[in-house]
């Protein structure tokens, strides 16, 4: 039972219910009661119309009583209108809460799965909203109507009440008992569908590989088994629903049979008049039976779906752990100490057998300029992420201005070091908002100077100056977005800057200009090199390649590393060659691009181990 209660998403429902304003709920209940007035009065007034009017041979009186019913019904129509604003005040805040939860969840996930997050935001949240709305609109009215009808029945003919209530309560208990297993089975169907989507999605994206391996039969058999399993789960839902349909018979129709059986006896003893019998029949036929049927149908499908959706949303996006104090919008005063050192850094991707980085150590004095080079997949971007604190190392530590980065609060860490990744962040808003992000304000003169030095002045002018609007970031080219991100970081107060292939979409000349601007900027600069020319501009170079990391100068590396020699001397780097993959093959892989690494010898004291490969996302850029 406990399992089922959890399956109903009780926790999720409770958490969400907390965001709904209580006043809206009370008003909703009030108007719902008014809306239920006809249900309350119908039998009473019909009985009166029959007893004192139509059956007594006085149709005029009968019409008068029906007129009263008409008045009550008009009131109901009024209430039905009045209810809507309060419905909106219950449903819209609920949606807002769900949206906020999904957005916070997506942004705090280490590796957000873009399409899944968007689907959650648009599809799952919307289906939760619509289900809640439908339930509130329909089931609420029906439920109130049912209660009102019972009340009216009690007022009209108290003796028949037990005959109605006992089966009804019985069926209610049965229904609740069945709801848990139904939710479990319904969710099994949803999960089976998702499994099919995941596995078939991979197979359909890899039709080339399926055909190349002649694996059609095997893959088809596997997918067919999944499809069968989903069918079986669906049948199981049907079997559980059959028991549910009995609740309608017990709660909605058994009372009628009981009343009809008892009626001759009750009329004979003078407990009921003929009009009362008609009134009771009106309640049972017109109110109770349709209400029970509708409730069982609505709760049995929409409530199930709502429970499943909420359960999945709340599982995927758990509520924020604790109300952390809001991050101050102005970070604390940056430390002027721009020294950066790294001690025995090791990192392995979750689920990967080998560490992608191991034994990385270096020490940069304030003002130093380091370039990191190496074949693709050797962990260059991982190193950048570790420096920026986006990833947490498995061993070793990063010292920013002499302080352990892991021990620094996030705002302070961000105030000491700024990372510009390959995929530049530009959002819809003004140029100024983008350049002054994430905090602080700069004068137009400051913006102009920075833009001039980084090389984005023409772009800024084209966008309409600092107050020009960027409506759709995707409309800018990748290089333009990079220029904006670079200008922003140039303006940032952080004394340490890490450029992680942040210039890869710029041409060589624009890259030179941007990098030289950063080199001239006070503070320490680390450049994850996209082109070898970046390395020639640095004081020192960290080479990440088999058999281990190597820190040296350009001249030394020319002697020490065949890879470096090949890159800087003989070979065009891998850039142009990436284009060879047919687009259909490229779309679907998340693995890094190939890097070229001619073999050779090396002289280094670093521990010798096989080159650790990387599965890091975001390292897709070509590299040298």
């Amino acid at each position: 039972m406990g399992r089922h209660r959890r399956a109903l998403g009780g926790r999720g429902l409770r958490e969400l219910a907390a965001v709904v304003p209580g006043r809206a709920v009370w008003r909703l209940a009030g108007w719902s009661a008014v809306e239920a007035l006809p249900a309350l009065c119908s039998g009473l007034l019909v009985a009166a119309a029959a007893d004192r009017g139509f059956l007594a041979g006085r149709p005029g009186a009968g019409f008068a009583w029906l007129g009263a019913l008409g008045a009550v019904t008009a009131l109901r129509a009024l209430a039905a209108r009045a209810v809507f604003p309060h419905l909106a005040e219950v449903v819209e805040p609920l949606r807002d809460a769900l949206v906020a939860r999904v957005v916070h969840g997506a942004l705090s996930r280490p590796v957000p799965d873009g399409p899944a997050e968007i689907a959650r935001l648009t599809e799952q949240v919307e289906s939760a909203r619509q289900l809640t709305a439908t339930l509130l609109r329909s089931a609420r009215g029906v439920g109130f109507g049912l209660l009102a009808a019972l009340l009216g029945l009690g007022l009209l003919a108290p003796p028949v009440l037990p005959l109605v209530l006992v089966p009804l309560l019985l069926s209610g208990a049965l229904f609740v008992r069945l709801l848990g297993p139904l939710v479990v089975r319904r969710r099994a169907v949803v999960l089976a569908d998702e499994r099919i989507a995941a596995e078939a999605g991979r197979a359909f994206a890899g039709l080339r590989d399926v055909a190349a391996c002649g694996a059609q039969q095997r893959v088809s058999a596997h997918l067919s088994a999944l499809v069968e399993a989903q069918g079986e789960a669906l049948r199981a839902v049907g079997r559980a629903a059959a028991a549910r349909s009995l609740t309608v018979a017990v709660g909605g129709r058994l009372p009628l049979l009981a009343v009809v059986c008892a009626a001759p006896w009750m009329v004979g003893r003078g407990w009921l008049t003929a009009g009362q019998v008609l009134g009771v029949a009106t309640y049972l036929l017109q109110q109770l039976e349709p209400a029970v049927r509708a409730l069982a149908g609505m709760l049995g499908s929409w409530l199930l779906d709502l429970a499943v959706v909420l359960d999945r949303l709340t599982t995927a996006c758990p509520a924020p752990a604790s109300p952390t104090p809001p991050v101050p919008s102005v970070p604390s005063v940056p430390s002027d100490d721009s020294s950066l050192s790294v001690e025995g850094l090791r990192y392995a991707h979750p689920g990967s057998a080998e560490p992608v980085l191991d034994g990385v150590r270096f020490e940069l004095r304030p003002g130093a300029h380091l370039a990191v080079v190496g074949p693709s997949g050797t962990g260059k971007s991982t190193l950048a992420a570790l420096l920026a604190g986006v990833l947490v190392p498995d061993a070793g530590r990063v010292l920013l201005g002499g302080r352990d980065a892991a021990a620094l609060p996030t705002p302070e860490r961000a105030a000491r070091l700024a990372l510009v990744p390959q995929e530049a962040y530009v959002f819809a808003g003004t140029v100024r908002e983008n350049l002054c992000w994430p905090s602080g304000d700069r004068s137009d003169a400051e913006l102009a100077t920075a833009a001039h030095r980084v090389g984005s002045a023409r772009l800024l002018a084209r966008l309409g100056g600092p107050d020009g609007r960027i409506a759709a970031p995707a409309a800018l080219s990748a290089g333009e977005r990079q220029l904006l991100a670079l200008t922003r970081t140039f303006l940032s107060p952080a004394p340490i800057v890490v450029l992680d292939e942040a210039t890869c979409h710029l041409d060589a000349e624009a890259e030179r200009r941007a990098e030289e601007a950063f080199a001239a900027r006070p503070g320490t600069l680390v450049v994850i090199a996209h082109r070898i020319s970046s390395a020639t501009r640095a004081d020192r170079i960290l080479l990440l390649d088999a058999p281990g990391p190597l820190l040296a100068t350009h001249a030394d590396l020319q002697v020490l590393s065949s890879f470096y020699r090949a890159c800087s001397g003989h070979l065009p780097p891998a850039d142009g060659e990436r284009q060879t993959t047919p687009p259909e093959a490229r779309e679907t892989t998340t693995s890094p691009s190939p890097g070229r690494a001619p073999s050779g010898t090396r002289g280094t004291a670093e521990p010798s181990r096989e080159r650790a490969p990387s599965g890091a996302r975001g390292t897709a850029g070509p590299s040298c």
Partner: protein
């Protein structure tokens, strides 16, 4: 399947009939009660009716999903088989039959459209039953007295007009709501694209607030939607009440005039309610519309061209690969590749080189029938590749790709039965052994580097034991040392087989017996590496060729400036 279909067809109308009969039977019973007649038979009839109704409804509840499940499984099974046997790259002729949906779209059709279509029978039955129930209720009223039916219709017709009006206004508001939703999704997508920057700056909350800035707009649109509903619902409620009251008043009048028995009053009330249930059945109609749309989308996939007959067997032979006047056209019919005449003798190694976009991967795809040529044919040991059955094609040509995609629930299946020797030859045994769950690791959970993936792709190739092996840039992500090892092991384990190697590396081209140099879809030259090396344009498409040429030019040294110029 048959049984559930019959059960559904019987139970749903039966349930509707029981529901429909209830007011009438109840009216008769009440008449008997009020007239003081013995009620035994009447009550027995009512009890029987209720029992039949309950049984039918339970049966319908089981049969509906069973029917849907059976139909969905059949549709999905057919769709899976159709898609998996498609040629991975459609030829120009195949594209004429209609644009092929992308993998995401195909998956959506499998999961969404096929499920909608599978529910078609249940949806149609439900809609028909709902309509019949409403019609039956009105008929019941008409049987009691034609005036009751007239009273009913007098109220219902304006209701239909109101609902249509609502659909029209609601559509505009709904579009507004969806636009706001789209902006919300865009902002989240922007923030997720820059999530590394955001996280590095510790600005998750700030960015969440920015994304959520659209919420008021969304809320406004949502409330407008509620307002539109509010008007209509108010009007429809009034109308429903008016219908009920008119019917009741008419019935009362008839009872008072002695033209109807008293029980008919209750029956009229019940049937009026059932007849009005029509307004709640819009959903059933929507279900039918969904099912029809789903079926159309599934049928589109079924209409894609199949793999063709392809029942021929591979004769014994050395693995000779022949391209005979092979050409490829684009959608306009212009030749974009070929014509290619090439014979690779059994056991020979041919390298394919060229710039990006020169058609190297296309040539590789043509070799094994992954794409059919638009002219000419590709033969393995004298048999057209297109005519081979799947199993025979697999014996004929094997592939390893630059970015292999692993297909299967777990690694073991995805590797197509690669044995330890194959894994060792591909240098994949080491990191595979270190995976926590080894071969049982689900493919979806693997986090592999490009190099690791390529090594698994090579192991998969070796498992196939094909006569012709096609290596499409299949070792490009390996680091130098591993590549050297893998290269040697591959050379060993594919000795004696015909090899077609797409490459960028001078060393690989040098080892091949013949080099096919492609340029813009045409063969620029077919010759040995040594002969081609004199051409600077040839050297430019290969990495390592410059160094190679340097050596051949007897150490004529180049200045650093010249070197720098080659670096991009």
């Amino acid at each position: 399947m048959r049984g559930s279909s019959v059960a559904l067809t019987v139970s749903v109308p039966l349930e509707a009939a029981a529901t429909l009969a209830l007011p009438g039977v109840a009216g008769v019973v009440l008449d008997a009660v009020l007239a003081g007649r013995p009620v035994g038979w009447a009550v027995g009839g009512l009890a029987a009716l209720l029992a039949v109704g309950a049984a039918a409804s339970a049966l319908a509840a089981v049969a509906g999903p069973a029917c849907t499940a059976a139909d969905t499984v059949a549709l999905r099974g057919a769709l899976v088989r159709r898609v998996l046997w498609l040629r991975p790259f459609p030829s120009a002729v195949e594209r004429l039959c209609g644009e092929r949906p992308g993998p995401g779209d195909l998956t959506a059709r499998l999961v969404g459209a096929a499920a909608d279509a599978g529910a078609a029978r249940a949806a149609r039955l439900a809609a028909a039953t709902a309509l019949v129930t409403s019609a039956g209720a009105v008929l019941g009223l008409g049987v009691l007295s034609p005036w009751l039916a007239v009273a009913f219709f007098a109220g219902v017709l304006p209701g239909v007009v109101l609902v249509r009006l609502f659909m029209r206004t609601a559509e505009d508001v709904f579009v507004r709501y969806q636009e706001a939703q789209g902006r919300l999704a865009d902002r989240l997508a922007d923030a997720l694209a820059g999530v590394r920057t955001v996280r590095a700056a510790g600005a998750q909350r700030q960015e969440a607030a920015r994304v959520l800035g659209v919420l008021p707009e969304l809320g406004d649109a949502g409330r407008a939607l509620w307002r539109a509903q509010r008007r209509t619902v108010g009007q429809v409620t009034l109308l429903v009440a008016a219908v009920e009251l008119t019917v009741l008043g008419t019935a009362g009048q008839l009872v008072a005039a002695g033209r109807l028995p008293a029980g008919a009053f209750a029956a009229a009330a019940g049937w009026a309610a059932l007849g009005l249930g029509f307004f709640e059945q819009v959903e059933a109609l929507v279900g039918v519309a969904h099912a029809r749309a789903g079926l159309a989308r599934v049928r589109e996939v079924a209409g894609l061209p199949g793999p063709g007959a392809g029942g021929r067997e591979l004769p014994d032979g050395p693995g000779e690969l022949v391209f005979r006047s092979v050409l490829v056209r684009d959608d306009e019919g212009a030749v974009v590749f070929g014509p290619l005449e090439l014979t690779v003798p059994g056991g020979a190694t041919v390298a394919v080189v060229g710039r990006s976009g020169a058609g190297k991967s296309l040539l590789a795809a043509l070799a094994g029938g992954l794409r059919l040529p638009d002219g000419g044919e590709v033969l393995v040991d004298g048999v057209p590749v297109a005519a081979l059955s799947v199993a025979e094609r697999r014996r004929a040509v094997g592939y390893a790709f630059e970015r292999p995609l692993l297909i299967g629930p777990a690694l073991d299946e995805a590797l197509e039965g690669a044995d330890p020797a194959a894994l060792a030859a591909a240098r994949a045994d080491g990191f595979l052994a270190r995976l926590p769950h080894g071969g049982r690791t689900p493919v979806g959970e693997l986090q592999l580097s490009g190099g690791e993936l390529q090594r698994l792709g090579l192991a998969r190739l070796l498992a196939g034991n094909a006569r012709v092996v096609v290596l499409d840039d299949a070792t490009s992500s390996l680091d130098a040392a591993t590549e050297h090892q893998v290269d040697r092991a591959l050379h060993e384990s594919t000795r004696g087989r015909t090899r077609l190697v797409v490459t960028h590396r001078a060393a690989v081209a040098a080892r091949a017996g013949l080099v096919v140099w492609l340029d813009g879809g045409r063969v620029r030259a077919i010759d040995t590496h040594g002969a081609l090396l004199a051409d600077p344009a040839y050297r430019a498409v290969l990495s390592g060729a410059a160094a190679d040429a340097d050596e051949r030019r007897d150490g004529r040294s180049r200045g650093p400036g010249e070197r720098r110029a080659r670096v991009r």
